[in-house]
């Protein structure tokens, strides 16, 4: 039986998280189909057909699918579920919203946020903010899975040549409607896709300091900007900057933690980064236990000097 990956897309293109989910699906050694549920999403379906390793694209297109409302997207997934042994989606906010709804409609216990595939019914997933890894075996006939994107290297977005099949969308549920979206506009790379991330914590002391002190460093490195929950709770920066157990899970090549003490729930979101740098005035801060390179001192002196050194 084939496996189905529910794509994360914006009706025009396929988001990178989909490529990570396809990589996880490849571990199951079956034909991989990708579902594009959207509106006027022909371009996204075409892009999905190019993904390496994809055998078929299912394209459901209807106005009620434009904004990915869980009720309507779940209905599409459920309509084809019986053809598949596994249904996977990346652990994005859409994936996390839709897949448990699908699982419940199929009377299946979902397996959230897998980081490894041990077999067709056995998976590894983090629990307790990543402080433990559980290996779980499912006895449901269909496996409904969300995939932690940082745990699987993305497959190539090009090189494939899958057929695209149109799929009829079930009628609008009429239960929910989309009102609006406020997308944080930024010239910077997206947090979960960035190669370098500069993050600030409570030590930044104000939102203004994120702009004055941290932004020049991020500019210099071409980095995305993140924050700890403490900085978000203090109102320094918006919530979608939050890295941690309940925010974004990231694993860039370089993670620079500035004025972040390193609470368990923050470490859960970034400890798989390749190289971690910590700048903190408290030399006992837990962040230094995971950092490859630490500088102890006043961030308001160190960060500007760092920017100058990087120019050399």
């Amino acid at each position: 039986m084939a496996v189905l990956v529910v794509a994360e897309h914006d009706n025009e293109s396929v988001r990178k998280a989909t490529l990570n989910a396809v990589a996880a699906a490849q571990k199951l050694r079956s034909d991989i189909h990708v579902l594009i549920a959207g509106h006027e999403a022909g371009a996204a379906a075409k892009a999905a057909a190019q993904i390496t390793g994809v055998a078929k694209v299912l394209h459901a297109d209807a106005p009620q699918l434009r904004d990915f409302l869980a009720e309507n997207v779940a209905a599409v997934v459920v309509s084809v579920a019986k053809n598949y042994s596994h249904l996977l989606a990346p652990s994005t906010s859409n994936g996390k919203n839709v897949m448990p709804r699908v699982a419940a409609l199929l009377d299946v216990q979902q397996i959230s946020d897998i980081v490894a595939v041990e077999g067709a019914d056995t998976f590894v997933r983090p629990i307790y903010a990543g402080n433990a890894l559980a290996t779980v075996k499912s006895r449901d006939p269909i496996k409904v899975i969300t995939v932690r994107t940082t745990a699987f290297d993305a497959v190539a977005a090009a090189g494939g040549n899958a057929s695209v099949e149109r799929l009829a969308a079930p009628a609008d549920s009429g239960l929910s409607s989309f009102v609006g979206r406020e997308v944080s506009k930024s010239e910077r790379p997206e947090l979960t896709a960035a190669k370098i991330i500069v993050s600030g914590g409570r030590g930044m002391a104000s939102g203004e300091n994120f702009t004055k002190v941290l932004e020049p460093l991020a500019d210099r490195l071409g980095a995305a900007m993140g924050a700890s929950r403490a900085a978000v709770d203090a109102g320094f920066v918006p919530n979608d900057w939050q890295v941690g157990q309940t925010g974004k899970i990231v694993a860039p090549d370089l993670y620079v933690a500035v004025g972040i003490s390193g609470a368990i729930q923050h470490l859960a979101g970034m400890k798989d980064s390749r190289v971690i740098v910590a700048i903190n005035k408290d030399e006992e801060a837990p962040i230094f236990q995971v950092a490859d390179y630490g500088v102890v001192g006043d961030l308001f002196q160190i960060v500007p000097t760092l920017v100058e050194e990087l120019k050399k």
């Binding site: 904004d67 409302l69 869980a70 009720e71 779940a74 906010s93 859409n94 919203n97 839709v98 897949m99 448990p100 709804r101 419940a104 009377d107 299946v108 216990q109 959230s112 946020d113 056995t122 307790y128 903010a129 402080n131 433990a132 890894l133 559980a134 290996t135 075996k137 006895r139 449901d140 549920s173 239960l175 929910s176 989309f178 009102v179 406020e182 944080s184 997206e190 370098i196 978000v232 709770d233 919530n239 309940t246 974004k248 090549d253 400890k271 190289v275 971690i276 030399e283 236990q289 995971v290 950092a291 390179y293 630490g294 102890v296 001192g297 160190i302 000097t305 760092l306 050194e309 990087l310």
Partner: protein, 249 residues
């Protein structure tokens, strides 16, 4: 409008959990337990809706061992009106909890159910969405703002890259994100008052729900530890390390 809130008893968020030596799970004996932080936000939101004159009654539900009564008493002290414990010593997975909550919802007929988006022990992030699916109700997950109107709730949701606002018809299920509110401190007089409020205990069987787990945990291990690195003297030394040793810039 009746509001139902569900709460879970979990290892306190300040506790550093330890994996059991035999690899069967994490150590929960003699560990401080508390209400799941997202559920505390859910209770607080319901209480604010009542204070604003929108909600008329708040029923708080927990599923699990007898000690969940303490968690329910905390919710009653925050301001919930009465409590229901679905008591069982069995392991409960999100689908089973969603089925228990569905049965309670069918008895209680709330117009709104508020849950935490995720429990900080199993980190599943499923129960609210599953409950909505089982009831055939709409869902608004990861809420940072809830505005109730006559027949609908307009909910601002924390999503990747920003905020999204959806309108859901009532009855509906909402799950909370961190910034929905800041829960109040529970005061001693309210703890005393909470002791007098009704707490009903039910068994899963009485609700006709089979809670048999679908997932078997084969083992639990500690993740590979990251080794602490080196401390460098200043920014100049740091740049040198990043350029020449780590080669990341």
């Amino acid at each position: 409008m009746k509001v139902l809130v569900s709460v879970k008893r979990v290892v306190d968020f300040n506790v550093k959990v330890r994996v059991k030596a035999d690899g069967t799970g994490v150590e929960t004996a003699n560990v401080k337990m508390s209400m799941n932080p997202f559920d505390e936000i859910a209770v607080e939101e319901a209480v604010r809706l009542k204070e604003a004159g929108v909600a008329t009654e708040i029923v708080v539900v927990s599923c699990g061992v007898q000690a969940c009564q303490e968690t329910l008493r905390t919710a009653l002290a925050i301001g919930a009106d009465r409590a229901v414990l679905v008591e069982t010593d069995a392991e409960l997975q999100p689908l089973a909890v969603a089925k228990l909550l569905k049965a309670i919802c069918q008895k209680e007929s709330p117009r709104l159910v508020i849950l935490g988006k995720q429990a900080i022990d199993d980190d599943a992030n499923q129960t609210g969405q599953m409950l909505a699916a089982l009831l055939g109700w709409p869902q608004a997950t990861f809420a940072s703002k809830i505005k109730l109107e006559k027949d609908s709730a307009v909910v601002t949701r924390e999503v990747d890259g920003g905020l999204e606002t959806d309108a859901v018809k009532l009855p509906a299920v909402v799950t909370t994100d961190l910034r929905l509110n800041e829960p109040r401190y529970v005061t001693l007089p309210n703890i005393m008052k909470a002791k007098k409020k009704t707490l009903e205990v039910l068994k899963p069987d009485a609700l006709g729900v089979d809670v048999t787990p679908r997932l078997t945990t084969l083992k639990v291990v500690e993740p590979a530890k990251r080794k602490a690195g080196v401390k460098v003297a200043d920014a100049k030394a740091l740049v040198d390390k990043l350029r020449n040793d780590a080669k990341v810039i």
